[in-house]
């Protein structure tokens, strides 16, 4: 099979560029420590009340380290807050471990301006870790369609200055 000279150069260039992209991905994982959601366990949605998700909300584990347990359901995030827009408050510089699941249908969990983007599925536990350095209010948005109330499914993380 004959391959034109210019086309051969093009194929080599394509290989080099894709290889460079691949190297950048490897670097993002190895050097910069970006992590994708990975399996941490299953949970029977009927047994959420008897599990670690029985009382969703924020717990402090140490200096500037917290765990947030979330149960998503049609159409709100239960983060242990009773406010109309459920909000948790943490000081700047906090490391937050988010452990979440869904009670009913597929939901999304996206935090504005931070690398938190994970699906919440009934039957599965999702876990993400993230540090909040910048003060401000960042919405937690459900970004997977979950029924007619989907667009109202929003919570917030309030990051305060100082301690």
């Amino acid at each position: 099979m004959h391959i034109d000279r210019l086309e051969r150069y093009w194929i080599i260039a394509v290989g080099v560029v894709l290889g460079a992209f691949g190297a950048a991905i490897v670097a993002s994982v190895v050097v910069f420590g970006v992590r994708l959601p990975s399996p941490v366990g299953r949970i029977d949605p009927a047994k959420i009340k008897e599990s670690e998700f029985a009382t969703p909300g924020l717990t402090q584990d140490g200096d500037h380290t917290y765990t947030l347990r979330v149960v998503a359901k049609m159409w709100k995030f239960d983060v242990g807050s009773k406010e109309p827009q459920p909000t948790i408050k943490i000081p700047a510089g906090s490391r937050l471990k988010i452990i979440a699941t869904s009670l009913d249908v597929t939901h999304g969990f996206y935090v504005e301006q931070h690398d938190v983007n994970v699906m919440l599925l009934p039957g599965q536990i999702s876990q993400v870790e993230v540090t909040f350095n910048k003060p401000g209010v960042f919405h937690i948005i459900c970004h997977e369609y979950c029924g007619p109330g989907h667009q109202a499914m929003v919570a917030a993380i309030e990051v305060n200055e100082g301690n």
């Binding site: 210019l6 959601p37 029924g147």
Partner: protein, 564 residues
């Protein structure tokens, strides 16, 4: 036989009107026009989604309170029914014309058509009666009315019959012409239906064993993570099923239309083979943020996704070189002037080149989506609709529109209603899609979610407001473009007085000697099977809960546990 001979010697301008060939006109026409009817239902909801999501305009459409019903209609009609019907009709045309014979069985053609049409009607029923607001991905544990799933099953079973018919036609031809070189367009069509058939097993299993029985009340539980894996086994090859007919037109038809020649026929075939094989082991790139799939499998499928980018980049070179030749024939001398020295006055050519331009950003944004860790910044934001309106809404749909500008006149035996209207349509479409892509892409990077009725949302992303408002310009241009398209289609069908001038841009012979080993379908399928074992079996072992089975009940999209 008189009519066959006429077709061989002089390229007929229109569909021959005698004997079984009359049915050729009907076969192609009915499929393509049914597809366009689905597009007519789906397309005009798009601009209103844009308006509804723009803070400046959301109050202007308070009646649009059926956002998710409309979005399901938009996705299902455009992406599932328009594409499938159009592609089947176009593939019949390509195969019959190139091989100069009728389909293996005309009865089978019509049986498949009726199945798919009944499927369409069932789905429309479920959607219109507000019982299937599950979007075109219908993820469990949201459960729709059984008619929705049944309709999809009929659509898929119909396409299996189409595949059988196409292959039997090809095998008959091969038996009679053992040494002849298979026209590229037919080769491409066959690869497309192979990948479609392999892919459709994923969705068939999902619908037949998880969704339809639950919807009918035969079982009571499902597993959303397993459902997503089965869906995306199908979902990624699905996008190639849309794309390959556009490539077929660029490789095998545009050279004739642009008065050029294909640059490399064998490498085009290699590209189609690679697309057929490597579109299968990559679907996990839609599940990078899923909790139930391991990072290792996500990494492995990322590698394959990069491999499946290669044939598209080969296509860029091959088609680009063909267009350079076309430009040189029109007097281009410099290194770049061939790009604009094309026949931009011809809407068929303008549509296809504009489609390619949209595919540049579509392809680059696609490689970004596939880049594992980068996906965290993009997944389910409005970046994603920005991406696939450059690829599916842009490259594929605009190419199909360009095809309509010669195919609909042929079906009707009259000239195109208005080439000027067609040119305006092409340019408003490409500029509209570019604006849509830019504004939605930027808004997505700032955190605007997709699939969300922002007009009714209680929060607002101040940073993204200017982009969402600017997207309205794209929406208006696309609305105009959609109207112009259908004006031309209905004009050609009912009002055109012009005589037909364009002939079918079909190759019936092949100059270059592409090796016959390329038609070793069994070999390709074996490679696909091996790749499935490497890339998919571990994923299914992860997502299925073999000890507890299904544990999640079905839910009605409008709230509450699903009751059949």
């Amino acid at each position: 036989m008189q009519h066959t001979k006429a077709l061989t010697i002089t390229p007929e301008l229109t569909f021959p009107k005698v004997g079984f060939l009359t049915s050729e006109q009907w076969i192609v026409g009915s499929h393509v026009l049914t597809g366009l009817m689905a597009l007519l239902i789906g397309i005009f909801l798009g601009p209103f989604q844009v308006f509804r999501r723009a803070p400046a305009l959301k109050w202007a459409i308070p009646v649009f309170s059926y956002y998710y019903q409309a979005l399901t209609v938009h996705g299902v009609m455009n992406a599932l029914f328009f594409t499938t019907f159009f592609i089947v009709g176009f593939s019949y045309f390509t195969v019959m014309r190139s091989l100069k014979r009728n389909m293996w069985s005309t009865k089978l053609v019509w049986a498949a058509y009726v199945l798919m049409l009944v499927g369409l009607l069932l789905v429309v029923y479920a959607l219109v009666t507000n019982q299937a607001n599950v979007l075109y991905t219908f993820y469990p544990s949201l459960i729709a009315h059984p008619a929705f799933y049944l309709g999809l099953v009929l659509l898929v079973v119909g396409t299996w019959l189409v595949t059988a018919n196409l292959f039997l036609t090809y095998m008959l031809w091969r038996k009679e012409n053992p040494q002849e070189h298979l026209p590229l367009a037919v080769f491409a069509t066959l690869t497309n239906f192979v990948l479609w058939c392999v892919a459709s097993f994923g969705v068939a299993i999902e619908v037949l064993f998880m969704l339809l029985p639950l919807s009918l009340g035969l079982i009571s539980h499902t597993d959303p993570q397993a459902g997503r894996a089965l869906f995306w086994f199908f979902g990624h090859p699905l996008v190639y099923f849309w794309l390959l007919p556009a490539y077929t037109s660029w490789y095998a038809m545009l050279p004739k239309q642009a008065n050029s020649r294909i640059f490399s026929d064998p490498l085009a075939r290699v590209a189609f083979i690679l697309l057929m094989i490597f579109s299968i082991p990559v679907g996990v790139h839609h599940m990078f943020t899923d909790p139930g799939v391991s990072a290792v499998m996500k990494g492995i499928q990322t590698v394959f996704t990069f491999v499946v980018a290669i044939p598209s980049l080969l296509t860029a070179f091959n088609v680009g070189a063909m267009l350079e030749r076309a430009g040189r024939n029109r007097g281009a001398k410099g290194p770049f002037d061939w790009m604009w020295k094309q026949d931009w006055r011809n809407p068929v050519i303008a549509a296809q080149i504009s489609a390619m331009i949209l595919f540049i950003t579509g392809g680059i944004s696609g490689i970004m989506n596939a880049s594992l860790t980068l996906n965290i910044a993009l997944h389910n934001t409005s970046w994603i609709p920005a991406h696939f309106h450059q690829t599916l809404g842009g490259a594929v749909t605009l190419t199909f529109m360009g095809i309509c500008y010669w195919l609909i006149p042929m079906i009707r035996g009259r000239g195109l209603y208005s080439a000027n209207v067609a040119l305006w349509q092409v340019h408003t479409w490409s500029i509209g899609m570019m604006i849509f892509g830019y504004t939605y892409g930027a808004a997505g990077l700032l955190g605007v979610p997709r699939r969300t009725d922002l007009g009714a949302a209680p929060y607002i992303n101040e940073l993204a407001v200017p982009y969402l408002n600017a997207s309205v310009i794209g929406g208006v241009l696309l609305l105009i473009s959609g109207i112009l398209f259908f004006v031309n289609i209905f004009g050609t069908l009912f009002f055109s007085k012009a005589p037909l001038t364009e002939e079918a841009p079909i190759d019936t012979y092949v100059e270059s000697k592409s090796p016959l080993w390329m038609e070793k379908w069994g070999l390709w399928l074996s490679i696909v099977a091996i790749l499935c074992v490497i890339a998919w079996v571990p994923v299914f072992l992860e997502v299925f809960d073999f000890t507890n089975g299904f544990q999640t009940p079905g839910y009605n999209p409008n709230g509450g546990i699903y009751k059949p």
